[in-house]
């Protein structure tokens, strides 16, 4: 179980995430909603520890993730994979190498510094690519792929990390509807078949309702909704998005 207690992050005077407390059971698929600037990205980045919290606790498996340092911190990042809106692949590396970078924090580590991965790790990487229908592109440069293809490579990279949690920050915001469906479906399958917990920032309410069980919503860094996606009726949504105009953008 992932549990947040009073999690807070301040940037100067502004509070991006404000005293957030909630619990996510293993194997859940949770949508994180809220208007732009509500603190969604900051929240996911804090869970992966790309951003340090200003206060509060992140509990997982009886440990406070917010206090991890050094090798333990890196090990946690490996277990909480991230997917980004802009894919964040290394454009000049091949698709396969990009996926293999998800194994950098698995032993043996030294040979990887000179680009040597074991055959078993290549097996795992190609399996992940095959699961996303990308194995035929393995030797292409990552920056030669379309956005949808790049995001699938990024998911494959996350998969080979063998994570416990997958944190997806607006994974489909840069994609066309067809690719968006494919990517959301992949995340759902990862959640169902591998039992990996998925937290997914989404800019669109229908996407959340189509793919997730539970939704949480942030407004100015505070938790304003936590419940089943079915409970996101019109008045609730107006409360989350503040105005009808903002809400219509999220449809």
């Amino acid at each position: 179980m992932l549990e947040l207690r009073g999690l807070t992050r301040r940037f100067g005077d502004a509070t991006a995430v404000d005293n957030l407390s909630l619990a996510v059971a293993d194997g859940e698929m949770v949508a994180v909603l809220g208007r732009s600037g509500a603190g969604k990205s900051t929240l996911l980045n804090m869970i992966n520890r790309l951003i340090d919290p200003s206060g509060g606790e992140i509990l997982y498996g009886g440990r406070d993730i917010a206090r991890l340092r050094g090798a333990e911190l890196l090990a946690w990042r490996r277990q909480s994979a991230m997917i980004f809106q802009r894919f964040n692949l290394v454009g000049r590396l091949s698709v396969l190498t990009n996926v293999l970078t998800g194994r950098l924090n698995h032993p043996p580590r030294l040979p990887k510094l000179v680009g040597l991965f074991t055959d078993r790790e290549r097996d795992i990487a190609i399996d992940a690519l095959a699961a996303l229908g990308m194995e035929d592109h393995a030797l292409k440069r990552a920056d030669q792929l379309s956005g949808g293809q790049q995001q699938r490579v990024a998911i494959a990279r996350a998969l080979v990390q063998e994570p416990r949690i997958m944190l997806a920050d607006e994974p489909v915001a840069s994609l066309d509807p067809v690719n968006a469906q494919a990517v959301m479906e992949a995340l759902r399958r990862i959640n169902r078949e591998l039992g990996i917990t998925v937290l997914c920032n989404l800019h669109s309410v229908p996407l959340a309702q189509a793919w997730c069980d539970r939704a949480i919503a942030l407004s100015a860094g505070r938790l304003v909704y936590d419940g089943p996606v079915a409970g996101l009726d019109e008045p609730t949504l107006l409360g989350i998005y503040g105005s009808a105009a903002a809400l219509s953008e999220a449809h």
Binding site: D119, R122, I126, D127, L139, I190, L194
Partner: protein, 278 residues
Amino acid sequence: MSATKPTAWRARRPELYPPRGPALWRRAALVPLGLGLFLWGLHALEVSPGQIYRGLGELGRVFMLMMPPAITEHVWQYLRAIGETLAMAFLGTLIASLLAVPLALMGARNVMPLGPVRLLVRRSSDVVRGIDSLVWAIFFVSVVGLGPFAGILAIAVNDTGVLTKLFAEAMENTDREQVKGVRATGAGRLQTIAFGIMPQALPVLLANSLYFLESNLRSATVLGVVGAGGIGFYLMDRMMISAWREVSLIVILVLVTVIGLDTLSRALRQRLIGSARG
């Protein structure tokens, strides 16, 4: 998508795996081959581990002897020599810049229509550039005698070669559309150069000159080694008599001067480039 044993892909997609068998050996053989080549080169350079070991020890000893830098009555002499060094770099660069403009005009493809002239200018600038300013300094010492004047001439000549090439390239890299625009107004050849090419190239030329002022200050600090003026003479002299604490003082003075000029020139360069853009 499962957490069980991964598929063995090698049989189906061998190109996604490192080679095996003879292909692997061929690739692996590159490592000792490269290493052998590297070591052979070191051997050709007469490098031995013992020499490195002894040298490092000696270096450490000299470094300790340099501390702390000695501030003696010579310091005024040194400061004057640094002023001399600055003067050498400044005048050398200035003369070179002034000489390089007409030469570059004769060497730029979009200015000089006569191929042989261009070739002559470019090749002779290559030759002049290929000879280090220290060699030119020896030559000029034998022409005008010991002292900073020889250094100025050495820097000026060597840099004329460098700047001619750079200036000519800057002129060739000017935007052709703008030049065409000027020509379309009925401007003659000279006018096209004056109003089409030069205004675009000028900031680049100035920035290059300033950059080479910095680089020439570094060259000027060593011309004294062959008697062509500047701080280099004292530096070498104090090293020869193992006055290490004065050596470190001189090195610090040089560092301060060079870094100071770099900072100044960088600020000027940024203003130049800024004014060219804005």
